[in-house]
């Protein structure tokens, strides 16, 4: 290697002269990238205790700062939408309830509303069935928000809140079990009404719950709202303003925490919500703290709605009178659990050939739905839950698409988390309340 690599040389009368400049620093430095060389890529999930299910996050970190975040979804894709195309319209209820498993009654109600709109029988849905739907949805909103408080608090280090949140949720699930027979995956709200009536003991239990829950909410607030660690972890964390929310299509408590009082129950009412008295809580900070306050306030509003719905319940049918649509069942508790009542079976089997044929055709083939398409949006705990249902005139859905708020809202995670600390990714992601069963469907 000659010296000229390091220094220019020239001939003089005194001989060769080298000028050493040491100016190769440009060359040396051009080989390194001071920003990117310090970056590491960290994979988080899909099996991770604080990603709220099988969500995978790929993070590009610079120290503890998140520079880029990409979420990867699809690990819980079960093909529900495709499967529904091979079952009849009523069977669809049992599929959609499994999407967002923390808010099954919202999935069912949105589906039932869409099918009823396709059938053109919205006017025939009985008062009692609609009131029961509102009652069940609002109880479900409480249980869903309780899981949110519980899991988010756990992810931010407050394990005690996790235990209390799940304890009270269990109470709601017991009410559901009394009414629908199941704690989750109810298939209770069916096109045309609901599967069965609400028993009296459930009403008593709901009234007990209405007395109990305000005290518990006060406890949660005492535990979290003034807690310095909770405040540090939530205030000014995961901020997304109303403009960002609208661009990313984020709805629900996250949008309301940014100050826009957009709640489909108020703005585009369905199920008679315009006749109930309740408020839409909002906050202006658009951070995790605001979302926490909005959700707690929504639990209070839902309690008000449940109380009004229970007061309104009047005896009456819970399924449409149209025998060509109404599910021909009369459920009762037998020795082997819930099933068709023996009297009903005896009547079908023993008394009337027509009623046997009718039962058989309706159960095996199902009813036909006139061709067309509808879109129904309802306010689920996570935001706008939309059902786009298409019928080709047959007994099966031609296509059902769910506009899942978990799926749409998750897109906003990079906007919330990039530039922040890695610890705040957890808080920001949790504050979106994604349910992967709904996201991936």
């Amino acid at each position: 290697m000659s010296a000229s690599n390091y220094a220019t040389e020239r001939e003089t009368a005194e001989g060769k002269v080298f000028t050493v400049t040491g100016g190769d620093w440009d060359v040396v430095l051009s080989g390194t990238d001071p920003i990117n060389d310090e970056r590491i890529v960290v994979n988080m999930g899909p099996q991770h205790p604080s990603t709220h299910g099988v969500l995978r996050l790929v993070l590009e970190l610079e120290g503890e700062t998140v520079r880029e975040l990409r979420s990867v979804v699809g690990y819980l894709h079960t093909g529900i939408e495709k499967n529904m195309e091979f079952r009849n319209w009523v069977q669809g209820s049992a599929f959609v309830t499994r999407m967002d498993y923390l808010a099954p009654l919202f999935n069912e109600t949105a589906y039932a509303l869409a099918v009823e709109k396709l059938l053109g029988i919205e006017e025939q849905i009985t008062e009692r069935a609609t009131t029961i739907r509102v009652l069940m949805m609002e109880l479900n909103r409480i249980s869903s928000h309780l899981v949110w408080v519980a899991t988010t608090a756990m992810e931010l280090g407050a394990i005690n809140m996790m235990l209390y949140g799940f304890r009270e949720r269990e109470y709601v699930l017991e009410i559901f079990e009394l009414i629908t027979g199941l704690r989750m995956n109810h298939a209770y709200v069916r096109p045309g009404g609901v599967a069965q009536d609400v028993p009296d003991e459930a009403i008593a239990k709901i009234r007990d719950f209405l007395k109990l829950m305000p005290k518990k909410l006060a406890e949660y607030e005492k535990m979290l709202s003034g807690q310095p660690i909770w405040l540090e972890r939530t205030q000014n964390v995961g901020v997304l303003d109303a403009t960002g929310c609208l661009a990313m299509g984020v709805t629900g408590p996250v949008l309301r925490s940014a100050g826009l009082a957009w709640d489909l129950r108020k703005t585009m009412p369905y199920c008679g919500y315009e006749t109930y008295e309740f408020d839409v809580p909002t906050h202006t900070d658009g951070d995790v703290w605001g979302r926490y306050l909005v959700r707690l306030a929504e639990i209070r509003e839902s309690l008000k709605l449940v109380e009004q719905a229970v007061d309104r319940l009047r005896p009456g049918p819970v399924m449409v009178a149209d025998r060509k649509i109404a599910w021909p069942a009369q459920l009762a508790i037998g020795v082997d659990g819930m099933g068709n009542s023996l009297e009903h079976v005896a009547k079908i089997m023993g008394q009337s050939m027509e009623s046997l044929i009718h039962h058989f055709k309706l159960v095996t083939e199902g009813f036909r739905v006139p061709p067309g398409q509808v879109y129904v949006g309802i306010e689920a705990p996570r935001g706008e839950l939309g059902v786009h249902a298409v019928s080709d005139g047959g007994t099966r859905p031609y296509r059902v698409h769910y506009r899942e708020p978990s799926f749409v809202n998750l897109q906003a995670l990079p906007a919330m988390a990039e530039g922040g600390l890695i610890a705040d990714v957890i808080a920001g992601g949790a504050s979106l309340d994604p349910v992967m069963g709904g996201c991936d469907r």
Binding site: F86, V250, K324, Y375, G377, D392, R396, F407
Partner: protein, 245 residues
Amino acid sequence: MSAPQNRTDDGGVPVPVTPAGATGGAPAELPPSSPAGRGMFGDQGTGDVSGYGGLVRPQRSIEAATRPYGGYFDEVADALEEAYPAFGEAIEKVVVDRGELTLHIRSERIAEVCQVMRDDLSLRFELCSSVSAVDYLGADTRRLHVVYQLTSMTYRRQVRLEAAVSAEEPHLPSVTSIYPTADWQEREAYDMFGVIFDGHPGLTRILMPDDWEGHPQRKDYPLGGVPVEYKGAEIPPPDRRRSYQ
């Protein structure tokens, strides 16, 4: 899983041999809209001999609506016509059905229309609620319909835009630059239906694995599944069960 044979074990009912165009890997099946793959006895009608009145209903075809559309639909159409010079060329059909307004848009114009729908002061569809697709195999030569649900929070209105593309040329402009929320939803429509959104920042699969072949929610894509034994009887997978037309 092997391709289905000319089996007769489903209660003695012959099952059609593998249809043309079916590929290996998943159980082949004729599309649901094809009469050949369905029905218990090859019957072309409803198969109904019971006299059950609800079975045969006149099929209501969906016709293009004429003015007045009723409600706010006229205002939306007027405002769009005024704000968008190419209205006559871009709008193929206006349908009002079940209290919902659907504008059928020429597919290459969809991004322009969305831009006007979002920005015009008398339209103001700020929120793109949903983007999805429907496969109208056999009913339309441009079988893949992309459906956009737009919501105006200012006026509390909802409108559906529909753009049709063919399976051979499934291209249409992406609306992600207008509604960033369409990002994942367009990826889902690509994943499930193979619609290609030109100008999308990263059009990759989202729900299915990256190396998946085919687009599962197309109507000519089989559901798949394996027979299940229950109490000695073999229950075929859902798309191979005997069913009504």
